[in-house]
């Protein structure tokens, strides 16, 4: 037996209240459109200062997506459970996904801190789908630490209190005279007893409510800690979905259509392919709302599946965007753009920016193991919405949810891809059809060409200024629909998204309104979103940081334009107009550490940008080299282009839990930002994406990595952690774009900047849909 405590958040949460909220109900804010305050005329002053600037207020200042997601977890926060084991370890089955963001380490730190045990004594596993948690098993919106920090601490504190009470009885000492260190309770006279020794006797037989007080002083939280899975990673022991051995689950892949969302109608050479070496099964898997489908092949090895896919002769039906290319989508986006409000008197600067499709690919492709039998199903996959996956799988398979067990595996990255259960749904459909367990893996080319992407979008901004002030700021963001039909991670809110206008009005507008912000005193600000197409026309998802990278990049480029028009330095202009002390602090930190304004050669420049989201603040300073010699560097089958030579980031995450993990997240955000401005996109042509390999889609590589990188973690500015997983992307992307504009003297308006250059690769064919693996690997050995 063991001590199990249930965390009732109310006990610890009363003093904190709703961080950042004003007690306004969630419902009232869904679908709330941004509107500026009444028009205020600009004061004519020579020097801009925060006091003289025209104030800006936005609803997102009072209630944001983080508040919404955390509020959604509160009704079930009491179901968070920490277990103390007789061996002195503490176990916690985390109801969130670990996809590299370091949440298992951060949660282990919170438990170790609260319980006074060594970090190494905390075992974190990923919880199977637990439908009773409802909206409390969604990993998204960089919300995990914000939502789970207090419930976890409360559970740990209750466990600690119960162990101390048991120790007091055992040692015959008042509890007040006991102290704890590293899981050893010490009483007067040096008598000791361990947590492990007390685990059984401290257990209760009947659940009851108990109050607790959290520790005031942190010992582990706030200290730099290495990842708890680091040794498993460097030794190759860390197990991802495809590393799990399930009896009979043979390698399985799918031959996919030549255009996005095409359908397999018939196979002309089924018998021939079935007879190929190693192949056990070949079957048409229909394209549905949940299953990409095509022709599934199952075999002894993935290599033989690849051979079979390449041999298949399939009659393909049409896809959802046949014939469409980048220019067609751009035309539709322009037609969908909402009008700007009438301009105030003053000088107007207006620009429109285009951001092309880009992949949402992690390095681990979509994958899952499924074992579907008539009486039940078992699934293994990296899932950020496992409850939704379980409930939808039950519907898809004609089972009850209790007959479907969903195991959440460690994810090899996510970047928004795993909010959906594409791999799991497809694996289950194939397993059911074949009546056999399957280990389904998407090919990399499938992942790029049929997987979920960041939607193409445009952003038009008009800034009106007069004298030393900005009088108004209007942004019209127009995007290909973002698919939010995973809802809040369970099936009711997911299904709501599929209703007419449910995705757009219910989710897209809410997410945009609760995240987009202009952190400057620019007078009346309007930021409006419109989306074109249905959520399932293209395969999209909330790729890391959702709308913010593009919204903020466009905004910060226009801030530089306004500063220039008003004869101001970009840094000092921002400092003067920022309306938030925490943003000013991170801005100042990067300006100082990055030596803002230092003399630089022609063709090189600095860029600086800020962003506020997830109750956190970020600022980034980038230096870029756009000189010919740099741009013209040659790397075989690689894209070089301008190089960011220095990157400095300052992050204020409220209460930093693990500074080392925060640094890693910001670095990753910077690598994304660099790629998204300079090189990383998908070209849509005739209904399919041209990119099919990492040598086609140019994510940041070592030759694009800044030789000098620095991340500053600001001291705690609060008692609660803000979000971090996505925070780094928007300000980094904006800083690269601003640096590029200053280095070249030209405002970039199409992103990434290499998208409109001649293609740097020869596209792979679409039939067969995947390239054959090379055979010359040995000649490349070094």
């Amino acid at each position: 037996m063991s001590v199990t405590t249930l965390a009732g958040e109310s006990q610890a949460d009363g003093a904190r209240g709703r961080s950042g909220s004003s007690g306004v109900s969630r419902r009232r804010f869904i679908g709330y459109l941004v509107a500026g305050p009444t028009v205020i005329a600009g004061a004519q002053l020579w020097t801009p200062s925060a006091r003289a600037a025209v104030p800006t207020h936005q609803p997102v200042d009072r209630y944001d997506l983080t508040d919404l997601l955390t509020d959604a977890t509160k009704p079930t926060a009491h179901l968070i459970t920490v277990v103390v084991n007789p061996d002195g370890t503490v176990s916690f089955a985390l109801p969130r996904a670990e996809v590299g963001q370091g949440i298992t380490t951060a949660v282990a730190m919170a438990i170790a801190d609260e319980m006074d045990i060594a970090l190494g004594k905390v075992n974190i596993t990923l919880a199977d789908a637990r439908p009773e948690l409802v909206w409390n098993q969604l990993t998204g919106g960089s919300n995990s630490m914000h939502s789970i920090y207090t419930p976890v601490r409360v559970a740990a504190a209750i466990a600690r209190g119960q162990l101390l009470a048991a120790a007091a009885r055992t040692l015959g000492t008042p509890r007040a005279k006991l102290s704890v260190r590293d899981g050893v309770i010490r009483g007067p006279g040096g008598r000791t007893i361990t947590y492990g020794a007390l685990a059984r006797q401290a257990a209760v037989t009947k659940t009851r409510r108990v109050g607790t007080v959290l520790k005031a002083k942190h010992t582990v939280v706030g200290t730099p800690q290495r990842r708890i899975d680091a040794v498993d990673i460097v030794t190759g022991r860390k197990r991802f979905a495809m590393d799990i051995e399930v009896p009979g689950a043979l390698p399985t892949m799918v031959c996919r259509p030549p255009t996005i969302n095409g359908k397999a109608l018939a196979v002309r050479n089924l018998a021939q392919v079935k007879a190929m070496p190693g192949i056990t099964d070949v079957a048409v898997i229909p394209h549905t709302a949940f299953v990409a489908g095509g022709v599934a092949v199952r075999g002894k090895t993935f290599g033989q599946c690849i051979d079979a896919i390449r041999a298949l002769d399939v009659n393909w039906g049409p896809g959802s965007v046949d014939g469409k290319s980048d220019a067609d989508v751009l035309k539709d986006l322009r037609a969908g753009e909402l009008p700007l409000t009438p301009a105030l008197p003053g000088k107007a600067i207006e620009h429109a920016f285009t951001f092309y499709f880009r992949p949402g690919d992690p390095l681990e492709t979509n994958c899952a193991i499924a074992d579907v039998k008539s009486g039940g199903a078992e699934i293994w996959s990296a899932l950020k919405s496992p409850i939704y996956a379980q409930e939808q799988l039950a519907q898809n398979l004609g089972l009850s949810p209790t007959q479907v067990t969903v195991h959440v595996t460690q994810g090899g990255g996510s970047f928004g891809r795993h909010l959906f259960a594409d791999g799991a749904f497809e694996a289950a459909a194939i397993s059911q059809k074949l009546g056999k367990p399957v280990k389904l893996m998407w090919h990399r080319s499938d992942n790029f060409r049929q997987g979920r992407v960041h939607p193409m979008c445009t952003s038009r901004i008009r800034v009106v200024h007069s004298g030393a002030n900005v009088l108004s700021f209007d942004q019209r963001h127009t995007s290909v629909a973002t698919d939010f039909t995973h809802g809040l991670g369970e099936i009711l809110s997911a299904t709501f998204g599929t209703l007419p206008e449910g995705d757009f009005l219910g989710y897209s507008q809410s997410v945009f309104t609760l995240t987009a912000n202009v952190p400057y005193n620019f007078g009346p600000v309007t930021q409006l979103l419109n989306e074109v197409y249905s959520y399932d026309t293209f395969n999209t998802s909330s790729v890391r940081n959702i709308y913010s990278p593009e919204v903020t990049t466009a905004t910060e480029l226009m801030v530089d334009q306004a500063a220039r028009a008003m004869g101001q330095d970009p840094y000092r202009f921002r400092r003067a107009f920022l309306r938030d002390a925490r943003l000013k602090a991170v801005l100042n930190a990067v300006a100082k550490a990055g030596h803002w304004g230092r003399p630089m050669p022609a063709g090189t420049a600095q860029g600086i940008a800020v962003h506020s989201e997830y109750k956190s603040r970020g600022a980034c300073l980038m230096e870029i080299d756009c000189r010919r010699a740099t741009v013209d560097r040659q790397v075989e089958n690689g894209y070089t282009g301008p190089r960011v030579t220095k990157a400095v980031f300052a992050v204020d995450a409220g209460l930093p839990i693990n500074p080392l993990g925060l640094k890693a997240q910001m670095m990753g955000g910077m690598m994304d930002g660099i790629a998204q401005v300079l090189s990383y996109s998908l070209h849509l042509k005739d209904g399919h994406f041209l990119e099919a390999s990492w040598d086609n889609a140019y994510y940041t590589r070592q030759w694009n990595t800044p030789p000098e990188v620095k991340v500053i973690v600001m001291p705690a500015t609060g008692k609660h952690p803000g979000g971090a997983g996505e925070l780094g992307v928007a300000p980094s992307m904006a800083a690269v774009a601003c640096a590029y504009a200053r280095a070249t003297g030209q405002l970039p308006t199409n992103f990434p900047i290499n998208h409109s250059l001649p293609l740097g690769f020869t596209p792979y064919p679409t039939v067969p849909p995947i390239p054959q693996s090379p055979t010359n690997g040995l000649s490349e050995a070094f």
Binding site: G100, R226, D229, A230, D232, I233, V234, T235, G236, R237, R239, F240, M242, D243, E245, P251, P277, G278, K300, T301, F302, G303, Q304, I306, D361, P362, L363, E364, Q410, G411, G412, G413, F415, M441, R444, A664, M667, G668, G669, M671, S693, W694, D695, Y699, T700, R701, Q702, W703, T705, P706, P707, I770, S773, P774, T775, G777, L778, E780, A781, F782
Partner: protein
């Protein structure tokens, strides 16, 4: 179908399979060695990087029939044994700099890094680091550079 024999992490293995199957699938699907990861199957992402007779290569792009009976294949699982330690200095450096995020690409990164240092010596240059092709989608590149530079001095 033929029997292929070679040495993996110090152990002789015999595998019955078609000649053309790439070694990655022999390791992962037939031998159950999961350290080398699939990331593209095109010799591009380098997530499956292993060593053959001490040199880095990508088993996704080598038919198993190209592997000779005397060839010694080392995967991440066998790397510590090559130096007779619990961990190779490169793995230690990876821990010291807390390089990994999701960890999916890291076995391949480490195997490539070891070969790079063997090839270039202890004074690794920025140009050497720029030449590493392994993808890390989490963007751990700056810490990879630090870890390699540090380990190179100790190897």
């Amino acid at each position: 179908m033929a029997t292929h024999t070679f040495i993996v992490n110090g152990q002789r293995v015999n595998v019955d399979c078609e000649d053309s199957i790439r070694l990655l699938w022999v390791l992962r699907d037939l031998l159950g060695i999961h350290g080398p990861k699939y990331g593209c199957g095109l010799d591009v992402c380098k997530a499956c990087t292993c060593h053959i007779n001490g040199k880095a290569f990508n088993p996704c792009s080598v038919p198993v029939s190209d592997i000779q009976p005397g060839d010694r294949i080392t995967t991440i699982e066998g790397l510590p044994d090559t130096v007779g330690q619990a961990l190779h200095p490169m793995q230690e450096a990876w821990l010291e700099f807390d390089v990994a995020q999701c960890g999916y690409c890291q076995p391949g990164q480490i195997m490539a890094a070891v070969a790079l240092v063997k090839e270039k010596g202890s004074n690794i240059t920025e140009a050497d680091l720029d030449g590493i092709r392994n993808i890390c989608r989490c963007g751990t590149y700056p810490r990879i550079r630090e870890a390699i530079t540090s380990a190179a001095a100790r190897m």
